[in-house]
Each structure stands twice: as C-alpha cells, then as structure tokens.
C-alpha cells in the first residue's frame, strides 16, 4: 500500500524520531511511504484557541496537499480528531462548499497510526522487541474522539520483552490542552502533577502514548523532577527491534 505520512508540525519540528519510526514500521510491513514536502499543520492550535478564521487557510492547505493521496497516516490522535471533528464544520462556517466536499472525500482515507495498523492493516504484531517496563497514557482525543479503545494496548502486548504496567486513571487528561498549558499554567501544572504521580507509581521506565503532545508535557515534569522515567511515542516502541540499542 502507498501510505502518505502526515508527520504533523510539532512532530516534524520536535519529534523527528517518531516520524522515522513510523516510516520504519510501515516499510517493515512492506508498504511504501511517501512524504509530501508541501505539508505544514492541521490547524488545531489555531482552531482550539479560537482563531477560527486563521485556521481555515491552514486546513485548506492540508486538503490541497493530500487531495489525491491514497491513504494518509498521522502519528497524532489529536490532529486526526481536529480533522474528523472540526474540518467539515470549519469549511461550512466560511461557506466554502467545495472545501466541505473535499473534506468529506478525504476524511475516510485518514488514519491515526495505531488505528491504521490494527483497523486497516489488521496487524497487531509488528515484529518489535523492546525490553522495558512501559506504561501507557490514554490521550484524551484517542479515547473520546477517535475511540481507539484497546488498539494501542493490543499492539504493545505483542512487543517482545515489553512489560506493560497499568496506569491508574489512564484516560484522565494530563493537563496539556495546547495553549491551555500556558493560559492556565497553574491548573495545567496541578493536573500534570496528578498524572506524573500515577506514572511514577507504576514503576515504569518508559511512559508511552499515541500523542507526543501529552508526552512532551509529561516529559517536562518528569525531567524537571529529575526522575529516570523516559517518554517515547508508541511508534518508537513499535519500530524497535532486537538489534537496536536499548
């Protein structure tokens, strides 16, 4: 299958390893990955912060870039939820019915990375080895917008050497929320403190999720507190093989 990778703006800039891992997993499974250099951002930050008029050109750009793509894979559930929950409404809000039609045609071809593996490809064992104690944080959009359910967990359970440790209240928000973490920094930090405590309680070496946004937030506190817990996007775990340096 020819898979077009939408890396997302913050993965592109901050988490290139996640993108490399997605490529590695998909190619290992025999698929062809393409990267459209024209891509930028899904528009989520602007939309969620209330800059609705500013978000529309960004999503229009996304639609232009991917209009003829066969399948689009995105290693971020919050960006996919932006597309599924808001794109159509955004297009309609500016009265652009052509854009709305394009969005409707495009949406069925967009998948979150783990959703693509399990739902579209029917694969749970991607041949990964990752000999570490890992806990999984259920990001809000993966749970309540994409309804991924146990999809990421099923993938992690097939990873050789991985010991999965259960997180308490896994689906409670980590407090990131995009610009919420800045506009309401105190409340966001208090939410993060609760989340970090549950992560530390598991005794895991690595906390993973399907969204680097939550992980960046968690890392911020885990690092500030000088803990030894690392964060890693689920793609990085699924890309790891026995030959990798742990």
């Amino acid at each position: 299958m020819r898979v077009s990778l939408f890396i997302t703006c913050y993965n592109d800039t901050l988490f290139p390893e996640t993108g490399k891992s997605v490529v590695r997993v998909l190619e290992r499974l025999g698929h062809t990955v393409e990267f459209r250099a024209g891509q930028t951002c899904c528009g989520q930050m602007h939309w969620n912060t209330g800059y609705l008029n500013e978000a529309v050109p960004i999503l229009r750009h996304f639609v232009e870039v991917y209009r003829d793509a066969e399948t689009i894979v995105v290693p971020s559930s919050s960006c996919v939820s932006m597309m599924r929950d808001h794109y159509l409404k955004a297009a309609e809000s500016v009265g652009d019915m052509r854009l709305a039609a394009d969005v409707q045609a495009l949406l069925p071809r967009i998948y979150e990375f783990t959703e693509f593996l399990v739902k579209k490809l029917g694969v749970e064992d991607v041949g990964a080895t990752y000999p570490h104690k890992v806990t999984f944080h259920t990001s809000c959009h993966s749970e309540r917008s994409l309804h991924l359910g146990d999809i990421p967990i099923r993938l992690l359970k097939q990873v050789r050497g991985l010991q999965l440790l259960k997180l308490e209240n896994p689906q409670e928000c980590c407090g990131f929320g995009g610009t919420f973490s800045i506009k309401n920094a105190d409340v966001s930090s208090a939410m993060l403190a609760d989340k970090v405590r549950t992560v530390l309680n598991t005794g895991a070496e690595v906390c993973t999720a399907v969204d680097n946004s939550c992980l960046m937030h968690l890392y911020g506190s885990l690092h500030r507190q000088r803990t030894f817990v690392r964060t890693a996007h689920i793609a990085e775990i699924l890309a790891s093989t026995a030959g990798d340096r742990a």
């Binding site: 024209g38 309540r144 929320g177 919420f180 506009k183 105190d186 930090s189």
Partner: protein, 492 residues
C-alpha cells in the same frame, strides 16, 4: 433575626482565582474526595443500563426539540398552568424577577420565606435582594443551609457545599445554631438541621423554589430532591413561588420517562431520586392556596438565537460534567466565580452575560472531552467552548490591545508560517539556531520569556533537535526510490 450576609462573586478571571484555590489543600482534598465518591456511584448505576446511550440520544432529542419550539411550549405551559389555578409571570431579567417575587411576598406581609435549593435564585441574587428589603430567606436544603450559615457561596450546583467536609459543617452548625455539644456523626448533623428547619416549615407561610422541569401539556412543575425538604416547602406553606428558567420546559408528561432515569443517575449516582414531586396548579384543602411560576429569560433568548451554542440550554443541571472534569477536580467551583461552575458553567456563564463577563471561562478547559462523554443530554461542551473562544478572539481583534497583543501577534505569525512549507522550514531552522539563547547547560529549556513562562514554571522543555523530520527525509531519499517526494504544492 440576624441577617445572613452572603458572600459575593468577584470579577477575578479564572486563572487568578484558580491560582488562589490551588493553594487551599483542604478545599482541594474535599473536592477530590466528594467528586470521586459521586463519580464512582454514577459510573456504577449508569453502567447497569444497557440502553444508556439511547437514553442520552432521547434526552438530547427531547431537549433540542423543546428549545426549537420554545415559544410554543411556553405558551402551552402558561395556558395549562393558569387553567389549573396557577399564576404565570414573565421576567425579562433578574431585576424584573426580583421585583415580581418581592411584590408577591410583600403582598402577603411575609417577613420570612423558606427556600428549596434553587440555583436560578442564586443567578438573580434573590437572597441579597430580599435581605435588602427586610425579608429573611431561609435555605432548607442541607447544603444550601450550610452555605447560608457559613456566609459562603455554592461551589457546585447539585452539591453546593461539596467543598466543605463534615468537621467544617459541624463547626458552622455549632456556632450558628448555638449547639456547643454537637456531635460529629452524620446523624448528629442531620438531626441538628432537622430540628432547626422543622420549626421554620411549620411557621413560615411563603416558599420559594426552582424547578427541574415544566411540563407544557398539563402545566405541571417537577422537582426532584434527596432530603424531603423540598416536599415540605412545596406542600406546607400557603404560598408557593417557583422561579424557573424558560429553557426548562418539556412538551409532555411522558418525556419524564427519560429524564427521571438519566438525571438522578448522572447527578447523585442514584437510580431514582428519593423525592420526586410533580404538582399542577392549586387544589382545595391540599398544598399551597396560591401558586406562582416566574419564568425567567435573563439573556437566555439570545443563546437560543445562536445555532452553535443553543445546545447549552439543553442542560438539565445534573453536574455530571463538573464531577468528571479534571479542571474542576483541581480547583473546585469557586474558581469559576459564578453560580454555574465547571464545564457547563464555562459555557453558560459568559453567555448569560452576553460575553461581557466570564470571558476567561471558555479557556478554563483542556478540551479533554470528558464532559461531553458523560452529558445525559449530549451537549458538546468542547465544541461550544471553541465557538465561544472564537467569538472572544474576534471581538478582541477589533480592539487595539487585542490586535497588537502577544497572543494575536503570535497566532498571526504562526498562521503565516503554516500557510507554506518553505516558510515553516525556514522558521524551524531559525528556531534551531535561536534557541541557543534559552537552552540551559543541562540541555533543556528551563526558562522561557513572557507569556510562555507559564510553561517553564513547573516544566522543562526539550530543545529542538538538530534535524527536522522533513530535512531527514529529504536527505534520506534523494532519488525517491520508496516514495514520491512531491513538489511543493503550497497555497500562497
């Protein structure tokens, strides 16, 4: 008779009020405990219904239908209620509602009124207005009594004293009821409240209530409650005045089938409320001799006119969204500086003030979506939050300080970069160089300037890696043997 001076809401914005409440470990621990208990009960009784999602759909459909035809159902209610012997009054705003209620009480020369928990009366500041006119309101709901005696304000519209624990309640009762030997068992406190209130029920001749539902087809009014204080107030006094928001009307009696299942389960985690009172007009020799309904608009009509946020008025005030909200868990209700706290308060409050107050509230959410998931009438609160943020941004952009403020400038700059991958790429490269100014010796960013400083007060930030993904890709496959590197297809 001593007056019960109530605490007032301040005009602090959410981040400021929240910051203060986050320092109060007692309130935080009380809120956490109470919301955890209610949530566990709620999840238990919701989980036992196999048709819960269908009930949510039905509830949403009934409420949306009622709002779409509100003028019709309100007129039908007025007609039916009047026919049954009730008197219906229409109040455009709080001032008018206060005037009507005060007039009715004064007509009967009453100096005291007993009250059933009504958040709508908190919305219009009824107690303060009555006190100012020499009439003493007595709250009979246990939690509202605690609030009133404690000179406090409600922090939750189902469990108003949720932020108080038992020891604190005991101290208030000891002091205000003059009971130095009061025990601290729940039954000691309940017994003290019962003794205090019984005497009032038997003496006071006028009661003020809110309502959970109005039923258009027969003019009935419904209140569900847990303590029986409501039943006392609805049946013992000579005069009953019910203050009700216009959005609370349902078309038919049988619509209650849905809400009497979803409301108690969502609100208190009970299969049904201990007391469900539904009454119609007045009846010779039974209940109040005079019954008034005051229908309150108070800026609800403009909300109806906004197709995006009209769903706000579907709310049946179960407060499930408060109990599940991770923001509310941290701060409790007082941070919202409004009668209506939590996620629903964050969308309702600013709209009830035509977006002139409570403007920080739509931002008091991480948009985690937990509120929408539990809402028994499927109000898409995150969607409305974003809609209201959009209104605020658009208004701010019309002002000089808004247009040239840090947020707008930053967002405009970001939008400019995201319009083109070459601009984004250039910005990434500039960021990789420029960040040397902020990266600490240990390789992370520990301090950011200006509006971004909120991030680094508790969190480190990893620096930008040396190579972006797009640069890695361009370098990895110059011949594009595995994929097509598309030409720039930028929309300039």
């Amino acid at each position: 008779m001593t007056t019960q001076e109530q605490a007032h809401w301040s005009d602090r914005d959410f981040p400021e009020a929240a910051k203060e409440l986050l320092q109060d470990s007692q309130i935080r621990s009380n809120v956490r405990h109470a919301t955890n208990v209610i949530q566990a009960k709620r999840n238990n009784v919701v989980g036992e219904l196999s048709d819960w999602q269908q009930l949510r759909d039905a509830g949403a459909a009934i409420r949306a239908h009622s709002l779409a035809h509100l003028h019709f159902y309100l007129a039908q209610f007025e007609e039916a209620c009047t026919r049954a012997g009730g008197q219906v009054h229409w109040a455009r705003d709080s001032a008018e509602a206060n005037r009507i209620i005060l007039g009715l009480i004064q007509k009967h020369d009453a100096k005291e009124v007993i009250k059933i928990k009504t958040m709508t009366s908190e919305e219009i500041g009824l107690n303060q207005n009555l006190e100012a006119n020499g009439i003493h309101p007595i709250e009979t709901d246990l939690a509202e009594l605690i609030i009133q005696l404690g000179h406090d304000k409600p922090s939750h519209f189902v469990v108003p004293a949720l932020h108080k624990n038992r020891q604190e309640v005991r101290e208030i009762f000891k002091r205000e009821m003059n009971l130095p030997d009061l025990g601290e068992r729940p039954e000691d406190l309940a017994s003290a409240a019962r003794t205090y209130l019984r005497e009032k029920y038997l003496r006071v001749k006028v009661a003020v209530s809110g309502a959970n539902f109005l039923i258009a087809e027969n003019g009935a009014v419904c209140i569900v409650e847990s303590e029986g204080n409501g039943r006392m107030c609805l049946t013992l006094p000579d005069v009953l005045i019910s203050l009700v928001g216009i959005e609370k009307v349902l078309p038919k009696y049988r619509d209650m089938e849905v809400f009497l299942q979803t409301l108690p389960r969502s609100a208190t985690g009970e299969r049904m409320n201990p007391y469900n009172s539904i009454w119609t007009g007045v009846h010779e020799g039974d209940g109040p001799k005079e019954f008034h309904v005051v229908l309150l608009d108070n800026r609800r009509s403009p909300i109806l006119g906004d197709a995006e946020s009209r769903q706000t008025l579907q709310c049946i005030r179960c407060a499930a969204c408060l109990n599940v909200c991770p923001v509310y868990h941290q701060t409790g209700g007082h941070a919202y500086e409004s009668v209506y706290a939590g996620p629903i308060g964050a969308i309702l409050t600013p709209q009830l003030h035509s977006m002139t107050e409570g403007r920080s509230l739509p931002y008091a959410s991480s948009l985690c979506g937990a509120c929408y998931e539990v809402c028994p009438v499927k109000i898409n609160i995150p969607e409305v939050l974003i809609h209201l943020r959009g209104k605020i941004v658009e208004e701010d952009q019309k002002t000089f300080s808004g247009k040239f403020g840090m947020w707008n400038m930053g967002m405009q700059a970001a939008a400019f970069l995201f319009a083109s991958s070459s601009r984004l790429s250039l910005a990434q490269h500039l960021g990789q160089i420029g960040q040397k100014l902020v990266v600490s010796q240990n390789g992370v960013i520990e301090r950011l300037p200006s509006m971004l400083s909120g991030w680094t007060q508790t969190r480190d930030l990893m620096p930008l890696p040396d190579q972006t993904f797009r640069d890695w890709w361009a370098q990895r496959k110059p011949s594009a043997d595995h994929g097509i590197v598309k030409e720039e297809s930028d929309v300039e």
